[in-house]
């Protein structure tokens, strides 16, 4: 085979069902006798529950059941922390339904089940809850004072602290020519996949088995938790993801509803469906970002970076959810970026407030830390009268220094190591492609009456790893068709295509002979999930390794059949061939037919299948540059992004169509988050942005065409394929590049996000000429 599937822009096989409207998302599932659940949520940010009376609701026609925490009784469980388990966080876990107190607007209080979603929602209006409203605390600074406690019995809102200490930052600061201290804030926003969350749970009393549809991202982990909660054996719980309308961190995590809907099905012996509406999604599914950072930098006057120190505060909301301290800790993890900064000290605070819980959103913590660092570097360049590009170039880790061990930047047994890269080369190519030298003069008021500016950010992003393994199982069937069963889920990325490409190359069969199945706990006994840009790294390598094992088995079986030595055989395009001989090719399908019909006991079992896990604690790091040209209207404060470039080295591209799709999509998501989106809380801790009329997502007229350049200069030495994850590079640098561009345009120093018109106007007014 002269050409490989890996690297080819192959159209996605997933697409046909989606463009014809025949995909199966969770709300498309309809089971006989299925009933519908709706969830009563707290209208208060903080209140004591004195009493819940469900009698009126239960008497309504069409209502099947209404239940509260009392009904869950001793089965009661909490949403578990799965990552970044910083000591102390486990005292702030969320129960399935509020216990005694509600701590954020949107917290589940009771569940109504009825014959239709309409009737279930009607029933919610008839549940009477007597609340004693308590004082709420909504701001991290105030929460740190512990005057109002989110969890009174814990005595503090500071749920956990993590320290990072590399080198001797204090000494470096004492000796530095130059230091600067700034406080940066990133606002609260969230992923908003187009499909809201949803679950169909079906407990079959006859079989004693539970089937849960709509599980995604982490089906195995969620099964483990729910099976333990319901006291069912894991192998009798089947979690299926179906098609999924986007993930972005938020979707597929375990939430209170993941307990409640299966519980309802077990209790009633009926299939129960719950589909979240958008208001619920904004109120109840994970929020993200909102990390504040007091950042200090120390350098020589020639611009050589010596040290950074940081105090990082994560606004965790009312409960610590599955991600534990991930968002603020990841902010600390790559704060030093691609630069040689030998001394680094950080203290990361996880602080509770009366908001919805915090979880991940595409490149969690990394978007934030890139913003802080890259803004600080631009400020430093101005202070020291250095060219901002030269300042960065001077401090970039060089290829000779790589692998570059930053040190223990995470609460993990493994140090952070930059595995491969030529950082200066990516920077050079980015500047050339953007025509930066011609553009950098465009600064301040221009002929169109707007203030223009160009901004740059440099990022590194960990991909893969976090959890050590993923697996694949392959079976050759009739006609030589190959079934690939993955342990990971898909949330819209295109694994069915990409994994078939990887399998076809390693195995030596054509892609159309391969079917890829995923996201079902029955397919594989173990699995972690699809997050942290780990799909291609972890599952891709698992597929590669499995295919190599399967190929050996196929060739051994063929050797027995042909009575030749296996070392003289190879598999090409689905045919077993004997290079250098006149022997005719044996199609794989014929070998299978033969094995079925004529295998002898001496030849053993007719096994043409293999299972392998790719297991690695090594984390790969992509890297690259974002460049933005913006124009700001001084009268309206409206920011227009005129030109945007993302350059990222992903090691090795499996499918350039999909990598570009990830990059462009992530960049637009990033621009939206930085400019438009914000979860705004008002008086009494009410979330004000509960529709898409208030929570503004970017639309086609809000964003420019995104230019992208994907590099393959630095394959990862850590995995057989040399791949790194491509899902997040497009978003990591958005806040940094846009923050720098707006600062350059207006001659100010942006330290807060979002870059919304009201805030931009305020900065212009504060400048004194607006």
């Amino acid at each position: 085979m002269a050409e490989t599937y890996i690297g080819a822009p192959i159209k996605r096989r997933e697409d046909v069902r989606f463009i014809t409207g025949t995909g199966t998302y969770v709300d498309d599932i309809k089971l006989p006798h299925m009933v519908h659940a709706a969830i009563l949520r707290s209208p208060h940010a903080h209140a004591r529950i004195r009493d819940i009376d469900t009698s009126r609701a239960e008497a309504l026609p069409g209502v099947v059941s209404v239940f509260t925490l009392k009904d869950i009784g001793e089965l009661d469980a909490t949403v578990p922390i799965r990552m970044y388990k910083i000591p102390g966080l486990d005292k702030y876990l969320q129960p399935s339904l509020a216990r005694d107190e509600v701590r954020y607007v949107g917290e589940p209080v009771a569940v109504a089940v009825a014959e239709s979603r309409y009737l279930a929602e009607d029933a919610l209006d008839a549940i009477d809850v007597d609340y004693e409203v308590l004082q709420e605390v909504m701001d991290v600074r105030e929460a740190m004072e512990d005057k109002v406690l989110v969890h009174e019995h814990n005595g503090t809102n500071l749920a956990g602290v993590h320290h990072v200490s590399i080198g001797d930052a204090d000494k470096a600061f004492a000796e530095a020519d130059y230091t600067r201290r700034e406080e940066f804030r990133v606002h609260r926003f969230t992923g908003n996949p187009m499909e809201t969350r949803g679950i169909v749970a079906h407990f079959d009393r006859g079989k004693g088995e539970l089937r849960v549809y709509g599980a995604t991202k982490l089906p195995h982990l969620n099964r483990q938790t729910i099976a333990a909660f319901l006291q069912l054996p894991e192998h009798k719980c089947h979690f299926e993801e179906n098609d999924v309308g986007g993930g972005f961190g938020i979707r597929g995590e375990l939430y209170p509803e993941d307990f409640l809907i299966p519980f309802a099905s077990v209790r009633l012996g009926l299939p129960v469906k719950w589909i979240e509406d958008r208001r619920e999604h904004l109120l109840a599914a994970n929020h993200s970002r909102q990390v504040t950072c007091e950042l200090e930098i120390a350098a020589r006057k020639d611009g050589t970076l010596l040290a950074i120190r940081a105090q990082i505060y994560g606004d965790m909301g009312a409960y610590v959810r599955t991600h534990g301290g991930l968002v603020p800790c990841s902010t600390g993890a790559l704060l030093t970026g691609p630069y040689r900064i030998p001394n680094y000290q950080a203290k990361i605070h996880c602080v509770m407030t009366n908001k919805t819980g915090l979880g991940t959103l595409r490149a969690p913590g990394r978007v934030e830390s890139c913003f802080y660092r890259e803004r600080m570097l631009d400020m430093m360049a101005r202070d020291l009268d250095l060219d901002p590009v030269e300042l960065r170039r001077k401090n970039l880790v060089t290829p000779e220094e790589i692998p570059y061990e930053i040190g223990f930047t995470r609460p993990s047994a493994h140090p952070t190591i930059l595995d491969s890269g030529d950082y200066a080369s990516a920077l050079r190519q980015a500047l050339e492609r953007f025509e930066y030298d011609e553009m950098k003069g465009i600064r301040g008021l221009q002929e169109d009456g707007r203030y223009h500016g160009v901004g740059l950010s440099y990022f590194v992003k960990n991909t893969g790893g976090l959890e050590p393994y993923e697996g694949a199982r392959m079976v050759v069937g009739e006609g030589g068709g190959v079934s690939v069963f993955l342990s990971i889920a898909q949330l819209g990325q295109g694994h069915e295509t990409a994994m078939a490409q990887i399998c076809a190359d390693a195995l030596g069969v054509t892609m159309d002979a391969i079917s890829v199945f995923h996201g079902n706990t029955d397919l594989s006994p173990f699995g972690w999930g699809t997050f942290a840009s780990r799909g291609t790294v972890m599952a891709g390598n698992a597929v590669h390794l499995t295919a190599l094992q399967l190929k050996d088995k196929i060739l051994e079986a063929a050797a027995r059949h042909l009575d030749v030595d296996a070392s003289g055989l190879t598999l090409e395009d689905g045919n077993i061939v004997q290079p250098g001989t006149e022997a005719p090719a044996l199609p794989l399908g014929e070998l299978v037919a033969h094995m079925r019909e004529s295998i002898t006991p001496e030849q053993g079992v007719p096994e043409l299948e293999a299972t392998a896990y790719y297991n690695s604690n090594n984390i790969t790091h992509t890297y690259g540059v974002h460049l933005a040209h913006v124009a700001v209207d001084p009268e309206t404060g409206v920011l227009e992004v005129l030109k945007y470039l993302v350059v990222e080295d992903v090691g090795r591209v499996v499918n350039p169509l999909m990598v570009r799709g990830q990059t462009v999509g992530a960049a637009v998501q990033g621009i939206g988050g930085v400019v438009l989106e914000e979860l705004v809380y008002g008086e009494s801790g009410q979330l004000l942005t509960t529709t898409f009329l208030d929570y503004l997502l970017p639309t086609s007229t809000d964003v420019p065409p995104i230019d992208d350049l994907v590099l393959e200069e630095a394959p990862s030495p850590y995995n057989p394929l040399g791949v790194k994850g491509a899902g997040e590079g497009g978003i990591v640098g958005t806040a940094g590049a846009l923050g720098n561009a707006v600062s350059n345009a207006l001659g100010i120093e942006v330290k807060d996000l979002p870059l919304s018109p009201d805030r931009v106007r305020a900065w212009i007014r504060a400048r004194g000429d607006g």
């Binding site: 989606f18 309809k30 309409y118 998501q669």
Partner: protein
């Protein structure tokens, strides 16, 4: 709350007579009563456009209409776009250009674009951008969708549909 009404309408060329709850939305009717689940609900308040269908030639939000408002109407949904196994030019272009990832918003974009190309069979990129600005996609960044609609325009726009 169980006031019901008889509804007559045509969807993708097929005539239906159904007894429906008067408060049921058109989107829920299509999805739950006719099992046409290609029409998706992303916000249920008329902003995201995932539920867009064509009613009497115009792109409408089926989450903002009651089913009974479609009395006597002719509807087209995403399920009616392809001709058997032959994809509509817009569908083919969406696949060519990788104009979808999770696919959840895709039916809405396809129906918006179908109605738009009938009005404007040879649009500029800027006109396409404007035309789809009422549909939200979280995956693609819109660019490949704009390219796909531009690619399909010569064929899709000129082809009258019944």
């Amino acid at each position: 709350m169980s006031t019901k009404s008889i509804l007559n309408l045509t969807v993708n060329g097929k005539a239906y007579e159904k007894l429906v709850e008067v408060r049921m939305t058109l989107a829920d009717f299509l999805r739950n009563e006719l099992d046409l689940t290609g029409t998706h609900l992303g916000c249920e308040h008329g902003v995201c456009g995932a539920c867009t269908v064509i009613m009497d030639g115009e792109a409408v939000r089926s989450c903002l209409l009651l089913a009974v408002q479609a009395e006597g109407a002719t509807l087209e949904t995403v399920e009616g776009l392809a001709d058997g196994d032959r994809l509509h030019p817009l569908q083919a272009a969406f696949q060519d250009r990788h104009a979808l990832q999770c696919g959840f918003c895709t039916p809405g974009f396809l129906m918006t674009a179908t109605a738009f190309l009938k009005e404007n069979p040879s649009p500029t990129d800027a006109e396409i951008r404007e035309a789809i600005s009422g549909n939200i996609c979280r995956c693609t960044g819109y660019q490949p969708i704009i390219e796909a609609i531009g690619q399909a325009a010569p064929e899709a726009g000129g082809k009258p549909r019944e």
